[in-house]
Amino acid sequence: MKDIAFLFHDPLIEKFREIKVHRKKVKKAVAKKNKDLADRLLNRPPTYKLDRLILERYPSFVDALRDLDDCLTMVHLFAALPAVEGERVQVQRIHNCRRLSHEWQAYISRTHSLRKTFISVKGIYYQAEVQGQKITWLTPHALQQVLTDDVDFNVMLTFLEFYETLLGFMNFKLYHSINVNYPPVLDPRLEALASELYALCRYMSSGIVPGNSESAKLVEDKDESELRLAQLQHQLPSNEPGALMHLVQESTAADVEDDDAKECSSLFKNLKFYLSREVPRESLLFIIPAFGGTVSWEGEGAPFDETDEDITHQIVDRPTQSHVFLSREYVQPQWIYDCVNARIILPAEGYVVGRVPPPHLSPFVDNSAEGYIPEYAETIKKLQAAARNQVLPLPSIGDEDMEKTLVEAIIDRSASNEVAEKKRKLEMLEQQYHDELKMEYEGKTYSHMKSDNQSDVVDNDSEAANNHVDDSYKQAEKDAADISKTVMSRKQRGLLEAIEIHHSRKKDKVNLLKKRKKNAESSASAKGR
């Protein structure tokens, strides 16, 4: 009741009424052929603003940041919709979404606050950390989405309206915090080339102070050489007149940035990337600068072209390459994403063009909690450990590092456990073999013996042996547990049962994974032979 009363007095409702009245007035004027009045009315339609609503819902900026996930996902989804006249979504809205999403990405990229990325079937997930809030969003693959009929676009567009406004204000605040004018003025040529993101990045790096004539000139300039110069300016701040600003900003930023951000910003430092035509350009243009790399692409407006000698990596996604430069590595796009997640430069051998890349793993999964660690995760862990030993003289091990070492320890232990298990199994095998021999001596028929031993097949015989020993103990324990169960209150018993079911499900899942893995391995080995 209270919330209805509250909503009833919302000023927006008053606005909506006004709009309704206005619509009626126009209709009446048109019906009376009072064209003058109708025109006058149509010129000044009442509008409403959502800023109050946003402030009401998110009184502080951090609140808004915390809830930004859905907003970003939605805006990115609409940005990927076809901007076609006559569809259910207005073209202008889609363009607005695209602009907002690029602005957001430019900010993230600029502040190096991207943390994790993941290519899923649904799209590409990104996780950034802004002011201590982890923000995850999903961008669909850069392909035409089909507008289906099973969704109500009115609902979605209403949500989108709120989200657009919210993201606009967020961007304003964020840009303000890094001292950039908010509605960014972009190089129209780059915009036309649909490399808006790059234009934005350039704007941010150059046009920090609005009065900076140099930056203004840069923005206006459309010369190819100037473009390259701008890119250089981004790299070598000491050479340029606007460098002072740069330096100041860098130094202040360095104070704020924690180790994590530093690590992120220097991941791809000194690397130069070149994107081929077929790779998802927008995504990579976003990620690589976010981790400190320099990037160019095939097409117009690119800062440098393919023949540049300094290029260290070329991202390629086709099976064959026409012209191969020996000075650079040709890798598949997944390499970038995996490097970002692992925070180290992974060896590029696995990702060479034409090969099936190693499995792409989700960085959002806590493997130890899940109870199952995929094989590739372990290799990455080892590589990470190796890299740390090499690089770090250990000036500062953050909490995360501690965590990582812990995880590694766990992994090691599990590995050793496995080794022990194997050993035991071997012993069991041997034992069985001896037994069989003995039996043969005694003159038992093979079949009889087999039927005897049928129960403990090699796979689970260790367990079985254990069982025989521990049977009575287990029984006693189980009884004790059952007794305590009977004494529990009904609610608690329910809770306990739920937990147990959860655990068993989890275990089942892990077992299933292990089984599949084993099957796959066996089939692969069979094929190998």
Partner: protein, 588 residues
Amino acid sequence: MGHSDGDHDDLSADDSPWSEDIWSDDNEGSLSFEDSGEGSDAESDETDAPAAEESDSSEDEVAPRNTVGDVPLVWYKDEEHIGYDISGRKIKKRDREGRIEAYLRNADDAKNWRKIYDEYNDEEVQITKEEAKIISRMLKGKTPHTNVDPYPDYVDWFEYDDKGHPLSSAPEPKRRFVPSKWEQKKVVKLVRAIRKGWIKFDKPKEEPNFYLLWGDETDTADNKRQGLSYIPAPKPNLPGHEESYNPSVEYIPTQEEIDSYQLMYEEDRPKFIPRRFDCLRSVPAYEKALREGFDRCLDLYLCPRTRKKRINIDPESLKPKLPSKKDLRPYPRTCYLEFKGHNGPVKSLSVEASGQWIASGSSDGTIRVWEVETGRCIKVWKVGGVVHRVAWNPQPDRHILAAIVDHDLLLLNAEIGDEEVQMRTKKLLHIEELAPEEEETGDKKPAVKWVNHDKFDGIVLIHHKAVSTVEWHFKGDYFTTVVPSGDSRAVLLHQLSKKHSHHPFRKLPGLPIAAVFHPSQKMFFVATKKFVQVYDLQKAQIVKKLESGVREISSISIHPGGDNVIVGSKMVNCVGLILIYPHVHTRH
């Protein structure tokens, strides 16, 4: 051809008048113009009426030769004359020349196409060249004469310039000098509207769309949430390994597993089936992207949110701490006496009222009576069947043991105590042989038959179906047995002194499990699977119905004080339940 001939013919009639004054009078000209049209029509009809009319209308013309006037020429068809001239003499018809002749003449004559036959005057006229030209112009829809200008310049009647006075000498009205009242009213209206701001002309000022909404984060007072309490929506689940475009092999289900999903319930079915793509290039657009976004929207605005505390408990902590056995001491731990003798499992045990004796029934087919103090076996009956139940008569001077053997009831003389008591018991347990005719009274098998035991000193109550329990009344004369499958004869009351039994409870709500007497009052309790029914024995009617709430009652007993009823159930964890009678109150 004939048509055009007629036309010419007709016009030739008013040849002369036309040529003379057709241009002098407009009216006349137009009239003749009309006439010529009609005349041509009439000509095609071969009737003279229009021609006559034509001659009448043109008064200025030279009068025609014929003076008959506007009469149908048919009237003169058979006459020799066609009419009369001015002087009143008959005008004779000309001789009809033959068709061939006329044709020949026409063929010779070059001007023949201009000749028209005038029927009224009965003569042939020839059209002049000018007339033919006029006709051709009219046929084309032009003015008949070439000299006519259809659009002459307008010439005004009066010339106002430099005349110095108006046409009308009426004085100018006042309204010409006074400003319009209505106009002024309209203007005032508009001016007021503008002043008051109802009409605005300037474009609304463009306000910046975005500004620093969250100003200083420092003032906390401003940050207070004013409106409704807001519970942030839970974040969507993060993707796991299986959602990757290139998951490791173990995450991809086999075809059989995918098929088996079809057999699952809709809601159990996994929403997402992992797939593997060789390269990023081949990943298609996710077709459910919009749908999922929409679902998320629906979740956000349709699902009520509550704050929920997520507890992460160790399941072990949920289990209550059981007291260890050591803490529960002292409790009997050492075995004091053992009554040895039975070969099979002991099924039932009963203590005699004085507490000196114990009777036990076992599935090895024996009933034994023991002395409690010494553990000595006093007596053994080999009844030759599984003993389900034994029960002592509660009266201390009647040493009678009721036992259920197989599915009949056995009343045995325990043969303990002094002589007198034994004698009385023996007498009590003796029945005179019944007359055989009594057996055939009922067509049904009687519920119970009292028969002397052939081997031991006792009585057998042969029931129609298997007996499950036996229970004594506190006075020791009555006892009850329950036959669960006995339908209306399930609960039986027996009187020992009269060797009589009857079944007063015809209707029971469910299967009877057990029945007991109240230890002091005239009450009787029957336990069915769910309920306990309390009967008044004297009135033989139901007094109360107790609902236990347990799933299945397995046994019932009454406290010797008579206040409490205890019911046991088969549920594992619900061991006992106490119904306090008469104030019903249950406690688990």
